[in-house]
Amino acid sequence: MRRTLTLASTLLVLLALGWLTPADAQTKEDTLVYALQSDVDTWDPPNSVLREAIILGYHVFDHLAARDLKTRRVGPSLATSWKTIDDTTWEVKLRQGVKFHDGSPFTAKDVKASFERVLDPAKKMTARGNHAKIKSVEIVDDHTVRFKTDGPYPLFVERMTALVIHSEKVLREKPHEWVQENPIGTGPYKLVRWNRKQEHLLVRNDDYWGAKPTFKHVRIRIIPEQATQIAELISGGVDIIKAVPPDQMDVIDKSGQARTATSPILRTALLQLDQAARGGPNPFTDKRVRQAANLAVDADAIIKHVLNGLGDRTATAVNPMAFGWDPNLKPYKQDIDRAKKLLAEAGYPNGLDITFHTGPPVVEPAIQQTNDAIVADMAKAGFRVKQNYIGDNTVLVARIKEGKGGPMFNWSWGYYSVFDADAILYDVFKCGEAYAYYCNRELDDLIHAGRSTLDQKKRAETYVKAQKLLFDDAAYLYKWGLRGVWGISNRVEYQAPADEVDRMFLVTPRKK
């Protein structure tokens, strides 16, 4: 027995030696803790597809422009102003007196190097496609650059919020691998250390050019399990969590330690119908069947009762927050009799069988429950829908991309965070696009017209026409714009962001 005890205590001592980590010079009062479900793959945002990488990028880097969360408009950041010289040239004035974390000054050279790096096909940057319309970047003087674009590029201003500015010196002197783990930006925080899949520690950049963050430190913890995140939030271990499941909101709100906040986000959910017959002939190639499907579903009731109000009904797939959204177009209202009549006219007086590929709740909360409600509604009009659940979202998306989505499937679109109708119409409705199961030349012309002029008034008119067409033709089964749910500790003030980019530098202590 004594030997066992000796062995056990030796083990414990050994373990203790291994655990001891150097004490951090941070206190609870000056440290903000933010939790993510999964870690980033790199600290080089243009080299990642993950939203987490975008979020972390906002803390250590700056972009040329940034969205004002109150107005949702794009405003100045590293760029102070911009204007068009002609249809294909944008001139951007840069902020003076800005310093990178390594002390070097920010100039036009850094902008040119950052854009050229992402545009270089050999570098294989993930974000390349988002900026491919830019042909070249010219330095006019130390604080002025000109962008030449391939044709008129109305999304230029939106896309200025989508690329972090690296230091030219770092890109020139350091190898690619180094840049992946050592972000040197101009942003409000600096990275102190990164323990993969565990946590990131940030410290305030006291030389920041903009408003200085209140909290000196930000710890970003990786907590994969949602129940654990919620437990941490209501026990005071974490200050802000995102993507709270709707059924857990009560737990947080009644805890006395934290509260929930919701915000509409730039993501629309819909059911794609295979109008383009990518999977071969199917009933949805007939407009009347698509209309009947839209008329069968009582989406308003589903939002109210299944989603606890966490959705905003849309007439088409264009999100109310996107530029070009038409507020005058009213969504389909449930009308079972008309749906039945349309089905009979289309040759299905006795109803019809449909296979429905469904996915897991990765981006859409309560997707299974809302699917069940939709299927039940459709049955009333005569659709006999068989759900086919695909548990792995990557697999589902890959199948859809290859044209194997089937006649009807779950879909939602996050616009790549570009608040513009074009960001969904082009990818999800244009003939021949990987994620589009709709093909209509008339619509293609409108999409093309929308992206070929810099005149925002003309563009808005074009998108009104496009939405009318999509509504009348019932391209897909339209659902709603999603709302995000955040959990926020009662010790801090925080506004839930509509663009799904959490900004810890805007968090302040709550006034008592």
């Binding site: 990786i222 654990t228 437990a231 026990s235």
Partner: protein, 305 residues
């Protein structure tokens, strides 16, 4: 003893080679890795280039030889997902998992030994029944549920422990107990039946006849012998423990190698999966090797047989 150890070592080597072949095969069973790596619109030229680059144009035994000789030097290639050496990723995440499993093992023993002996000595009493009930409950409770319950009680309600994370001794208590509770029941039952069996042996009667106190009889004579099957089973259960670590690590946001492996499987990051499988297998095999040696040391009959 030397010959016995040598024989075990040879067995160990065979197992390790077998595992390396299996993990090498992973890449070939799941289909063409080039198709997985390349974007969907890649051309035939690019395909051939990558095919050659990965050495897939060579015969399978050459490919295996290359894989094995590199693996011996700790080179499993770069992660397809993060562009860092797979070996570094796995090694960095190994200590937290080893600490967790060791702590879980210690926790299991701290629960199982006293309860098992107690149950054996007070056979069919209220205490024994209580221990049996605890064992059944422990076996029936999913790790996941137990972990969340502990968090709710000790972190949310009592605010006595951090709900999740890694770094201080407080962080160890709940995960170690969760994992220990998973292993304790079977160990406890083994200790109990072992002690019961041994308490009826002649040498126990002899010890008692010599006038030893009951305490000395149990601790010195009975327990030592009851330990042999327990140690063997603990060795075998070590693999199970690593399996339990996957769930425990997820619930407590523990930055270990078990979650890394699962994540890598999900991301189809095969160099990391291969490296993790080989290293974890190596650890399991080594633990079993040590167990065999220890058992041999305790019980001379085994090493002779």
């Amino acid at each position: 003893m030397k010959r016995y150890a040598l024989r075990q070592l040879v067995q160990l080597t065979v197992v390790v080679v077998g595992i390396s072949i299996l993990s090498f095969a992973i890449l070939h069973v799941i289909g063409d890795p080039v198709l997985l790596l390349l974007p969907q619109n890649a051309g035939k030229e690019e395909y051939e280039r990558y095919h050659k680059l990965l050495g897939l144009d060579k015969p399978v035994y050459v490919q295996y030889w290359k894989f094995a000789s590199r693996a011996l030097q700790g080179d499993f290639g770069k992660s397809w997902y993060t562009d860092t050496p797979a070996f570094k990723l796995v090694i960095d995440r190994m200590p937290p998992t080893l600490y967790l499993t060791t702590a879980g093992l210690v926790a299991a023993l701290l629960i199982a030994l006293p309860l098992g002996i107690l149950a054996a000595l007070k056979r069919h009493s209220f205490v024994d029944n209580l221990c049996t009930m605890l064992a059944v409950a422990g076996q029936a409770m999913p790790i996941f549920w137990l972990g969340i319950m502990l968090i709710i009680i000790f972190a949310v309600r009592l605010k006595a422990l951090p709900a999740s994370g890694y770094g201080t001794w407080q962080h160890f208590l709940m995960p170690a107990f969760t994992l220990g509770a998973f292993l304790a029941p079977i160990t406890m039952r083994l200790v109990r039946s072992g002690v019961i069996e041994i308490m009826n042996m002649d040498y126990i009667r002899t010890a008692r006849a010599k006038g030893f106190g009951e305490r000395k009889v149990v601790v010195k004579h009975a327990f030592r012998n009851a330990c042999i099957p327990v140690i063997t089973v603990l060795g075998l259960q070590f693999g199970q423990l690593l399996g339990g670590a996957i769930v425990t690590e997820t619930v407590f946001a523990w930055p270990g190698v078990a979650t890394l492996t699962v994540d890598s499987i999900r991301n189809q990051d095969f160099p990391v999966v291969q490296c993790a499988v080989v290293l974890l297998a190596l650890i399991i095999v080594s633990v079993n090797f040590l167990v065999d040696i220890v058992v041999g040391l305790i019980d001379p009959r085994i090493r002779v047989a």
